[in-house]
């Protein structure tokens, strides 16, 4: 079990949630104008979740660090592209972070296939995502909502989101039709959305 679990923000008390914390949207518009101090504040706010999801997907802390660096560079470069009408700043950031981590996984799979060998040593002390998701209240909420899914929905969401399998890979490896896995993912996300939406 991992113990060095980082909280997202330095909010006092257990009530800290993504909605608390600084106004990330306002900070991003300052970043878009080239404000270095605002970028530092953005870093403080998003580095932990970006690093966290990259490490969950990639499992290797060194690669997760590289991806975190790339993601932050992209945030700096493209802050002007963030459009509040399209969603929250954290959603924008998390999509970029997850996408970068997944791209790395897919590129590695391709090169592993070329070498006919996949040799990533297991990172020490890293456990199942479900177990690492435990330290903060936010993580507890997510864990509870994941627990409210059916087992097959949960498996579909965890394999694709946290472990980086494509839905077709996951379907083939679980021995279910593609369409079944697609449905499980979507139904699972709808249930998660409803569950988490009620628990901001």
């Amino acid at each position: 079990m991992r113990t060095h679990h980082g909280h997202l923000e330095p909010q006092p008390g257990p009530a800290a949630s993504p909605a608390a914390g600084p106004d990330l949207a306002a900070l991003l518009s300052e970043v878009a104008a080239g404000e270095a101090a605002a970028f530092e504040a953005v870093y403080d706010h998003i580095a932990a979740p970006v690093f966290g999801i990259a490490r969950a997907v990639l499992r290797d802390p060194c690669q997760a660090e590289e991806v975190t660096q790339d993601v932050l560079a992209e945030i700096w470069r493209t802050a002007a592209c963030y459009n509040p009408a399209r969603g929250s700043p954290m959603a924008w950031v998390a999509v970029i972070a997850h996408r970068r981590a997944i791209d790395r996984v897919r590129a590695e799979q391709a090169s592993a296939a070329r070498q006919q060998r996949a040799a990533v040593p297991p990172p020490p002390g890293y456990d199942e995502v479900a177990e690492t998701v435990a330290a903060s209240l936010e993580a507890e909420r997510v864990r509870r909502c994941l627990g409210a899914l059916t087992e097959s929905q949960r498996r579909a969401v965890i394999l694709t989101y946290y472990h980086g399998y494509t839905y077709r890979q996951a379907a083939a490896l679980l021995g279910v039709p593609d369409g079944t896995l697609r449905t499980r993912i979507r139904d699972g996300l709808i249930r998660l959305r409803d569950c988490l939406g009620g628990q901001q």
Partner: protein, 252 residues
């Protein structure tokens, strides 16, 4: 063989989790541009997945911050842009050059063939090592390998045709094997998996499933360092030792 193209509406979830392959994602984005309902669903799912990401939050190494700030100081920013669809923008921007060299994912070419859970359970007796417990165990066993902290995936071409996909956990001494596009065999022959060791070869199961469609999944336990995974064509019913040349031979 081309993959069956699912109706775009059913792909919103997989798209939001970045679980589509490149060409599928590109097709879906074309649909997304004229489907406000899908776009709204994707936007909602992005809020949901942000929470999933948040739940993994972990403090990165302290020196990362200075590196990031220093890199920003020497990086030119994009000017404010006319708003494009958020998701397609981030997808394009996030794609590294190496991703364009991805091999064709033929092993993902799955026909409509259904491998019911019952079939997987039926496999339990054919896996090597410890047989899984009854009921959900085989599917759990597969999931356990797929989600193992050290799970690694590779695909390999089978010399007589078809592609194998292997996910392996050294820690769990286990792997999951699936194959697509296998060449059809006469009824008197079958595909057999082997664990090839330095001193001896161990049967690791017979491939189930239609021979030209997807075959598997099959789980194999008892991996040891230096083991290779082999596949050969054997008389129906299998052999105690390989009797023909390996058509797949992968270092694990």
């Amino acid at each position: 063989m081309t993959p069956a193209r699912p109706h775009p509406h059913t792909l919103t979830g997989a798209y939001a989790l970045h679980a589509l392959t490149g060409p599928e994602a590109a097709r879906f984005e074309r649909h997304l541009a004229r489907c406000p309902t899908c776009a709204q669903e994707i936007a909602d799912f992005a809020e949901t997945t942000a929470r999933l990401a948040d739940a993994t939050a972990a403090t990165p190494p302290a020196d990362l911050k200075q590196q990031v700030l220093a890199a920003a100081a020497r990086t030119r920013q994009l000017p404010p842009a006319i708003h494009q669809p958020t998701i397609s923008r981030t997808r394009r921007a996030a794609r590294p050059a190496s991703a364009t060299t991805l091999l064709p994912r033929r092993w993902l070419v799955l026909a409509a063939a259904v491998l019911a859970l019952a079939a997987v359970i039926g496999l339990a007796t054919r896996t090597t090592g410890h047989p899984p417990a009854p009921g959900q165990a085989p599917s759990r066993q597969i999931a356990a390998v797929l989600t193992a902290p050290d799970a690694t995936m590779l695909d390999a071409r089978i010399t007589t045709g078809g592609t194998a996909t292997i996910v392996m956990s050294r820690h769990a001494h286990a792997l999951v094997f699936a194959a697509t596009g296998l060449a059809p065999l006469p009824p008197t022959r079958c595909y057999q998996l082997w664990l090839l060791g330095p001193h001896s070869d161990t049967p690791a199961g017979m491939l189930p499933g239609p021979q030209h469609g997807p075959a598997g999944p099959i789980t194999t336990t008892g991996l040891r360092p230096g083991t290779r995974l082999g596949l050969s064509i054997e008389p129906a019913g299998g052999s105690p030792q390989p009797t023909t040349a390996m058509i797949l031979n992968v270092v694990l």
